[in-house]
Amino acid sequence: MNRRTLLKSTALAAAASLVFFGAASAQNPVLKIGFVGVTSGPAAAWGISNQRSMETRAAWLNELGGVEIDGQKYDVQIVAFDDQKDPKRAIAGMEKMAQEGIHYVVGPNVDDGAAAVRPVAEQNGIMYFPYAFPKELYTAPASNAILGMVANYQSGPAIYKYLMENNGVKKVAFVAANESDPLSQRDGGVEAAKALGLEVVSDSVTYQVDTTDFTPVLLPVLQSQPDLLVLSGVSPANAPQLIRSARELGYTGLISTETAQDATVLQEGAGELANGFISVGGASTPELASDAMREFVDRYTKMFGEYNDESNTKVYALEYILETIKANPAAMNDVEEFKKTMDTFEAPNPFMVGDAKLTYVGTTSFGQKRQVSVPLVVNEFKDGAFQTLFVAQVD
């Protein structure tokens, strides 16, 4: 075989394999759903749990033959973009989604990123599901953003009220990282605490996220002798260190946060000192979880080695997108149709037992339905695991 024959036969084989595999993988048309969020750096855990939840659910649906919309089956493809928690990168990510013709995007994970992508999303007909709390994203005239979880100004008052009634809490102190999300969550928490009649004894102490010793940070806070220490917007990386330092300084009161945490991280970082720590959990408990939720956890764990409790909440965004498009197939390429459907949309919630429904909520907080309905689960950490303290519903 001379060189020319070899080249020809190689090219032919390559072309044939492309045609064969292309045909095999193109059984269903593809429905692309985007993710723009943080998957690197200190807050990577937030975005990675989003991306992995979407990828797990998409793989599962594709394995079942795809998602049926208006009689046509589609394979779901997740297009992910790491914004590195940088608003400029988040804009670039949203522009990439627009260039790919994607109309539904999950993320971003933080306030400034979610605010930054708003013009790009609105100009390009993209609905996006941020995990960020600024109300102006969800109140009119804004209409393209849908809050993907329970906001701190919804969970905070519920937690404080519970602790006032059940633990006699009267004095509360707040400490937050010196970043936009934790600071805005602290301000929201202070406002809510004051509205409930709590005495706010400290709310000015902040810390750098890369702090390696929290003793000097917490000393002035604990000198104000609060009954409840609120770690506003605390990241899973900082929570164990703050709890440990507070307990080692002799603080015996309650500690809580309105962000989701990870039981393994708390156990490794603070051990039994974290017992009694109150946090917002993923939107599921053993009592609430359906067989589908248990299977999702199984599949996620098999795909990625370790589950993240936050994914109990983050599994929902993709489900809401797909179910809403199924309810109104015209929404697949027209987000105005999606918005029309949201007001009356209702579908069975596959991840909860009983007759729970997927519906859009948020009228009380935003004046329009721009939030996914997921249960508010408040947990208490005990001996390496979360125990459900109470479950509530937003709106």
């Binding site: 998957t39 690197s40 750096g41 200190p42 807050a43 990577a44 855990a45 990675i48 010196n178 000015s204 102490v205 902040t206 810390y207 750098q208 996220v209 890369d210 390696t212 010793d213 003793t215 000097p216 940070v217 000393l219 002035p220 899973p236 990386a237 164990p240 260190q241 080692e248 300084l249 002799g250 990870d262 393994t264 991280v265 490794e268 970082g269 051990g271 080695g305 370790e306 993240n308």
Partner: protein
């Protein structure tokens, strides 16, 4: 006041140990190792894996961190920095290489250890409490003492061993050292390995206190640069002084300025700018390098 001083000393000891590795590499090779923080993080994850995953004693984890990072450091010098230094006279080539290594190590750490915060159980339980005037957990006291012992050991190594003398000669004048028969390549590799090993050791020590996560590398490098700028880049005693000064400034600032918000690092950076305007070579550095 006792509490502020104790916090400052504890922070200073760990900071000084981080800065020592960075300044050693800078003094030997004139390389600003932007990946120093990532090496610290890698050290923390190695100790975590050995102690929390394999259930081995903490000291084994610490030794494993030291060995792994020494090997990584030696490899980075031998296969990455040495060819670049030999072929390029431009300083930005090594700076770009160091930045690239930092990104590479971030990606490797994410793949190997995941994105989550990790930590190992306390190695000593209990808290020293002197009538609430001075509260310090025993594990922090132990880590502080170990860090100071390691600094002393490092100084002794540099002062009294043949390798230490060779590395000091190399730092003072590379050409003269070579003419005097010092094996420049060998001691450059040894110095880089030692610097990386120090970063790994601090990571291993602190994983019991602060835990470790993927995002700690960058901020750790910035703090290390801050320390060697205060003390004087490339000067061992300067790195130690820089570490303790930064630790003390942080402790005092966080206590006295708490009421005004998180302005401690704002004040530290502003003070450093003013300081460098008057003394750009740092406390103990020489104006000529």
């Amino acid at each position: 006041m006792e509490q502020i001083l104790a916090n400052g000393l504890y922070l200073g000891a760990q900071y000084a140990l981080i800065a020592l590795g960075l300044t050693l590499i800078f003094s030997l090779m004139n390389v600003l190792n932007f990946a120093h923080g990532q090496m610290y993080v890698l050290g923390g994850f190695v100790t975590y894996t050995v102690v929390a995953q394999f259930g081995l004693p903490f000291i084994v984890g610490l030794v494993a961190s030291a060995v792994v990072l020494a090997v990584v450091g030696a490899g980075v010098e031998r296969f990455l920095f040495r060819p670049v230094v030999a072929r390029s006279k431009r300083e930005e080539s090594t700076m770009l290489l160091a930045a690239g290594i930092a990104f590479f190590l971030d990606a490797v750490i994410l793949l190997l250890f995941g994105e989550k915060q990790r930590g190992v159980p306390k190695i000593v339980n209990g808290v020293f409490n002197w009538d609430f005037r001075l509260v310090m957990p025993y594990d922090r006291i132990l880590i502080g003492v170990l860090a100071i012992a390691m600094i002393a050991g490092f100084i002794a190594l540099m002062q009294y061993t043949r390798a230490g003398r060779a590395m000091r000669a190399l730092a003072q004048d590379r050409m003269a050292a070579q003419l005097m028969g010092v094996d420049v390549e060998r001691y450059s590799m040894l110095g880089f390995a030692l610097g990386a090993m120090l970063a790994g050791l601090v990571g291993g020590l602190l994983v019991t206190i602060t835990g470790v996560n993927l995002g700690m590398g960058g901020p750790t490098s910035i703090k290390a640069f801050l320390m060697i700028m205060i003390g004087g880049a490339g000067v061992i005693s300067g790195a130690i002084a820089g570490g303790f000064i930064l630790g003390m400034m942080e402790s005092i600032g966080l206590t006295l300025l708490a009421a005004y918000g998180d302005i401690t690092y704002l004040v530290i950076f502003a003070s450093l700018m003013v300081f460098l305007a008057f003394r750009p070579q740092g406390l103990m550095g020489k104006p000529w390098g």
